[in-house]
């Protein structure tokens, strides 16, 4: 399935990123941005599908992950750094405007790309994570405090804490706890419990992923560790500070939001999907399509790979005035 995926190291924004690449370089470029805690491998289905439907697909291991460089401190993991990495990739490929899809943290990078460099984005698909406009009066760490210490984001703040908690399990187990989760609450652990201990591994694998595929992740994280990925969370307050220029900004680029109805944060009346379909969101992201996939959980582009592939393709094709 991934036999024709090329992997190469590209220098961008002063660091080396490992980049998976498939398809005809003359075709329009699709940039796929993975989430936490993943690698370009999460996009394996979309890489194959989109490259066989007329696109040149590029999927990096993001800064801090797998075979890409991992700067030591969290200050080097702001959205300004991550967006600059992406721009460097687009410059490397000579792409003036790219189609972009992002999942989880990759979606946050995609939204940030729409702020910093809307001129470089033809259309953006966000999986799981909507655009969160900045609240000028509420820093992220203050918002998280209201969820208590059990919130996974809070537990990810202190350097070393989550790393030590994860290290109590082997990497394969850690990956299973994340990838196979079916929780749709906001991931708050009970008192005195680390989230990694609270997440459960199901007794059987679901049909959308194999033991070998999970091992691919485990091998990468065994080598590169979790500090780089966790640094994204540790830079959230800094992100809030530097996103002040886009206070009140409307994202008018064509965008599409796709999420499973059982994704993290969709439990209850005030879930993510309700927010995305609401008036407030529409006023800041007016050019938006929303797709909710029934029975879908967080790692949606793997769990519902065909559906997600089709939704991404049809959106990008529509922007190119191509209809099936």
């Amino acid at each position: 399935m991934t036999s024709e995926v090329r992997e190469k190291k590209i220098k961008t924004n002063g660091i080396w990123l490992n980049v998976a690449d498939k398809g005809d370089e003359g075709e329009p470029l699709v940039l796929l941005l993975h989430g936490f805690p993943e690698t370009w491998f999460s996009w394996r289905h979309q890489i194959d599908f989109l490259s066989s439907h007329g696109y040149h697909v590029v999927a990096p291991d993001l800064r801090g992950y797998a075979d890409s460089d991992s700067p030591p401190t969290h200050e080097s993991y702001t959205v300004s750094h991550l967006v600059a990495d992406v721009i460097g990739l687009l410059d490397h490929y000579g792409t003036a405007q790219a189609f972009v899809a992002g999942h989880d943290w990759g979606a946050i990078i995609g939204w940030s790309l729409c702020l910093f460099r809307p001129d470089r984005v033809k259309g953006f698909v966000s999986l799981s994570v909507p655009y969160s406009p900045r609240d000028p009066n509420l820093k992220p760490s203050d918002l998280f405090k209201s969820f208590g210490d059990g919130l996974y984001i809070t537990q990810f703040q202190e350097p070393g804490r989550a790393e030590a908690a994860f290290a109590k399990h082997d990497c394969l187990t850690v990956m299973k706890k994340f990838l196979l989760t079916t929780r749709s609450d906001f991931w708050v652990a009970p008192p005195n419990t680390e989230i990694i201990d609270d997440l459960e591994v199901p007794s059987t694998l679901p049909d959308w992923i194999t033991e070998e595929e999970i091992q691919v992740y485990a091998d990468k994280f065994q080598k590169s560790g979790f500090t780089g990925p966790l640094n994204y969370y540790r830079a959230m307050d800094l992100n809030w500070e530097i996103l002040a220029p886009w206070q009140g900004y409307k994202i008018v680029i064509p965008t599409k939001f796709i999420a499973g109805d059982k994704d993290i944060g969709n439990e209850g009346a005030n879930g993510t999907i309700k927010y995305v379909k609401g008036e407030m969101f529409k006023s800041i992201v007016p050019n938006l399509e929303v797709v909710v996939i029934e029975d879908g959980h967080h790692f949606i582009q793997q769990e519902k790979s065909e559906r997600v592939s089709q939704e991404i393709l049809s959106f990008f094709n529509k922007l190119r005035n191509i209809t099936e």
Partner: protein
């Protein structure tokens, strides 16, 4: 020339910002169209006050003129954290100010910048081109972001450790109780003398501040700087100090790091650029060539006009206020 201004405060981006305002005393066509807004951005070591002549002239021509003290300066709050002075912080302030002043329609404003204000204006145009109708920028050209040119190490290699920007770098441990290195030296020299040295600097060469430099030679005021002007600057700087302003220099590397997304980006806002031929910035090696051989325009494709004023130094808008006001009005009239 009527030099009365309204002074206002507004809470933006977590700080209390002071700005001076001068609006037309008439409505130019009697209709409900609001007067166009000009946002003036001062440099170092100045204040809103540097724009007094332009605000007076342009408000009488029908513009609503706004000049803030930038973050860390004058009567605007100076955040304690030395890290809170990147271009993204300052542009965040200005977006908040524009929203507060112009209202909810997200309209564009005219911008005029000089020195650090020009740097901020270039970054405002990169980050939020949708808010700037046109820009008159002065003294400091736009140069595209360059991965190989991290600011402080670049200055150090060009001009050495005594270059003022290099001398400004060393921070204090505790901003409230201990000065950074340069603040302590400034305190010894005295606020008035420091300001006079900078405001009257007319050497086309780079500013070097070797330790133990003598500040004993008498300084004579140029024609455009009165005792009253000096007193005004001194009174404000004695109150708010130099740490805020100097922190901008201390964040140049951080700003550079965070602007990496704009590698190869052009400024896509209409621009008129004005510089004095005695300005030290005009004498930075290769700058004259850069301005006139087409490269400046290649990075600022909507650069409509470059004006070089003969015999004029760094503080051009104070030296030739009427000329500068006319340049600004003539340009903004075309929009």
């Amino acid at each position: 020339m009527d030099l009365t201004f309204t002074h206002r405060f507004v809470k933006v981006n977590g700080i209390n910002m002071h700005f001076a305002e001068k609006t037309p005393s008439f409505t130019d066509n009697g209709a409900s169209r609001p007067p166009p807004v000009i946002l003036f951005l001062h440099g170092f070591p100045e204040l809103w006050y540097t724009w007094r002549h332009q605000m007076a002239a342009l408000s009488s021509l029908g513009y609503r003129t706004i000049a803030p003290d930038l973050r860390g300066y004058g009567d605007t709050e100076a955040p304690e954290s030395a890290d809170a002075y990147t271009s993204l912080h300052v542009v965040g302030d200005l977006i908040g100010l524009i929203d507060a002043v112009v209202g909810g329609d997200r309209e564009k404003v005219f911008v005029v910048g000089h020195d650090w204000g020009a740097v901020i204006a270039w970054h405002l145009c990169l980050l939020r081109p949708d808010r700037v109708k046109a820009l008159v920028n002065m003294s400091v050209v736009f140069e595209p972001w360059n991965l190989k040119r991290k600011p402080i190490s670049m200055f150090k290699s060009f001009y050495g450790d005594d270059y003022y920007i290099c001398r400004f770098q060393k921070n204090g441990i505790n901003i409230l109780q201990e000065y950074g290195e340069i603040e302590a030296e400034f305190a010894k020299v005295g606020t008035e003398r420091v300001l006079l040295e900078m405001l009257t600097y007319r050497n086309p060469g780079p500013i070097l501040l070797p330790k133990g430099k003598s500040y004993d030679d008498p300084v004579s005021l140029p024609s455009w700087l009165t005792e009253y002007d000096v007193k005004y600057y001194v009174s404000k700087y004695e109150k708010s100090g130099f740490t805020g302003p100097v922190n901008y220099y201390r964040n140049m590397d951080r700003t550079w790091e965070m602007m990496g997304a704009f590698s190869n980006a052009q400024v896509k806002v209409p621009v008129k650029f004005i510089i004095g031929d005695q300005d030290l910035t005009y004498h930075i090696p290769r700058t004259k060539k850069y301005i006139h051989d087409g490269r400046f325009k290649s990075h600022v494709p909507l650069l409509d006009e470059v004006v070089v004023l003969k015999g004029v130094g760094h503080f051009l808008h104070e030296e030739r206020p009427d000329e500068i006001s006319k340049h600004i009005h003539d340009y903004f009239l075309t929009f």
